[in-house]
């Protein structure tokens, strides 16, 4: 199980850049199809908001790959280091 958790980390790491690529690509296509202010704002908001989340996903994957989730903290002493 621990190995699966670690290997799955690679998937989460890849998921971050892949989702940003898909999002930016769709944004460019949609804005060029209908270059009005509403479309530009909508897609800019989507891209700006989801990029930090995608970075978070990469970080999560990295932690998983490093085996950080092998053991979850059972007391606050383990969390506040």
């Amino acid at each position: 199980m621990d190995n699966i958790k670690r290997i799955a980390g690679i998937i989460w790491i890849l998921l971050g850049p892949l989702s940003v690529y898909y999002l930016v690509k769709t944004a460019v296509i949609e804005i060029s199809k209908k270059p009005v202010l509403d479309t530009k704002i909508q897609w800019t908001v989507f891209v700006v908001v989801f990029i930090p989340i995608a970075i978070g996903m990469v970080l999560f994957g990295y932690y998983a790959l490093k085996g950080e989730y092998k053991h979850l903290p059972e007391s606050s002493a383990e969390i506040i280091d």
């Binding site: 509403d38 908001v45 999560f60 932690y63 950080e68």
Partner: protein, 512 residues
């Protein structure tokens, strides 16, 4: 005697927290429910800057500002205490809502109107971002470990009941302003929309009074007396690797999937029934009100159950059921409301036309209404509007057609049943989540740490669901249900992460 006092105290704690949180949700939802009416009053489409402000008000407040509110008020809650922080969020939310009801329209004060409304809407989003974490933490920190899921599940009912209250107040106000229903709706669109906003002030006043009488959370009070309160909750929450990894796990393994299920069942389904299935405005709202009413007790059921079997598998089961059944359930909604499959009673068909002179011209507006009736009791009203031009050769290329259906009583309850099932999924994923989040983080940074993943999951992943799903349906117009793939993919990833990495163990001691 002690046990009786304890039970009485916890009931007071739950009531004080839940009523305030319910009112905050009500305040937040009435803006969304009245977005079209508000847009006409404050953001005229003819003016591009006002339209830009409208888009910002829609997007910024619900999605971007909520996580910021979580950070601002979460930090405050970990520094000065839960009680005063969620009292502050209530005052900000109530004040902004009441003020929106008072702002003069664009026609009266021009650009100042949309700018003021945008600022007030941002304040609403900010306040909401701070409220939930405070209420959930406050109740959880009063609860014994064996009833934490049960007690916090009362807080979990508030978001859905807030929606119920907003739908009900809007529906009642739309119909009581005049004896003639058409005139009543017209008055509502003109000035009556302000009533639900102004009404909020009474609810907020009662809630502030109740909350003022409450004491600080015992766990936080103890931490404060021992001088162990966090000095920098933001730094401790997000720069310490051991806590940050739990924040990320909470987001990607729980709140992200919970958010999309919540918004698909209760918001996208409503948009879908009204815009895609073309069901009547009032019928759509009453269907949701019934479904919410029947499903709400299940928040408590699943919250309580989670105290016995753990939070993890209940939440993940809700996600799994949603992933597997959303498409068949939405397909049923399409099928039930599709008049192509029904037999029309042609003898009952009514066609009416009316004409209005267009202001400042000689052209005429033609409004054609066709009423269709079907053997199963469904009726359909088709209203097409076009302009008859006096200038030779000028014709309306495509008349504007609006369709509205009223389904039979049997189908009405069938649709209510389908929505009920979808809201049951919400109760499964949402009922235990407050207890789950509270148990994940230590007391000194709990408010900050749990608020951020909650509001990214709900505000961004969840809040964007209706927009992304509708957008997908516009891009890939061949499949009416294509919008559901957003929910299915997000909930699917969350389900996998949750199943792999989350622990089902209930934390007995959250006082550390």
């Amino acid at each position: 005697m002690n046990q009786t006092n304890e039970a009485y105290n916890i009931r007071k704690v739950i009531a004080a927290s839940s009523v305030g949180t319910l009112i905050e949700w009500y305040d937040f939802y009435i803006f969304g429910s009245l977005a079209t009416v508000i847009a006409n009053q404050f953001f005229p489409k003819t003016n591009p800057t006002a339209a830009l402000l409208s888009t910002l008000a829609t997007f910024a407040a619900g999605f971007i500002v909520r996580p910021f509110g979580a950070l601002v008020f979460g930090r405050l809650g970990d520094l000065i205490g839960r009680k005063y922080t969620f009292l502050l969020t209530l005052i900000i939310m109530g004040g902004s809502t009441f003020a929106i009801g008072l702002v003069p329209g664009y026609a009266q004060i021009g650009f100042a109107a949309p700018i003021i409304v945008l600022i007030l809407r941002l304040l609403q989003g900010l306040a909401l971002g701070g409220e939930y974490g405070g209420a959930a933490t406050y109740v959880a920190e009063h609860s014994p470990s064996n009833k934490r899921g049960y007690y916090t599940s009362w807080i979990q009912t508030t978001a859905t009941l807030g929606l119920f209250l907003s739908l009900g107040i809007i529906l009642i106000t739309r119909h009581i302003l005049d004896q003639d229903p058409v005139k009543s709706i017209s008055k509502f669109n003109d000035w009556g929309w302000r009533v639900p906003f102004l009404f909020s002030v009474f609810l907020v006043a009662i809630s502030i009074y109740i909350r003022l009488k409450m004491k600080e959370s015992p766990l936080f009070a103890r931490l404060k007396s021992e001088g162990k309160v966090s000095k920098n909750p933001l730094k401790e929450s997000f720069s310490h690797r051991s806590n940050l990894k739990m924040v990320l796990l909470a987001l990607f393994g729980a709140t992200m999937g919970q958010g999309v299920v919540w918004y698909t069942s209760q918001f996208y389904a409503m948009t879908f029934i009204e815009a895609t299935c073309k069901l009547d405005f009032d019928q759509t709202r009453t269907i949701f009100m019934w479904a919410i009413l029947f499903a709400t007790p299940f928040f408590i059921v699943f919250g309580k159950w989670s105290d016995r079997i753990g939070r993890k598998w209940l939440m993940l089961a809700g996600m799994l059921l949603a992933i597997v059944t959303y498409r068949p359930l939405f397909r049923m909604l399409v099928s039930i409301t599709d008049t192509q499959n029904k037999t029309e009673v042609t003898t009952k068909k009514q066609i009416r036309s009316s004409f209005q002179i267009v202001d400042n011209s000689n052209d005429t507006l033609r409004i054609r209404t066709i009423n269709h009736f079907f053997t199963d009791g469904t009726s359909l009203v088709e209203t097409s509007t076009d302009t008859l031009y006096t200038a030779p050769g000028k014709v309306t290329l495509k008349p504007e057609v609006k369709t509205s259906k009223i389904v039979s009583t049997q189908n009405y309850w069938l649709i209510t049943g389908i929505i009920f099932i979808m809201i049951i999924y919400v109760t499964m994923v949402y009922g235990p989540i407050a207890a789950f989040l509270v148990e994940l983080f230590p007391t000194k940074i709990r408010y900050t740490s749990m608020s951020l993943p909650y509001h990214i999951g709900n505000g961004i992943f969840g809040g964007l669901t209706p927009f992304i799903a509708t957008l997908l349906a516009t891009i890939y117009s061949g499949d009416k249900l294509v919008g559901l793939y957003y929910t299915i993919i997000v909930a699917g990833i969350c389900l996998l992460i949750g199943a792999l990495y989350i622990n089902n163990k209930i934390d007995k001691d959250i006082s550390d």
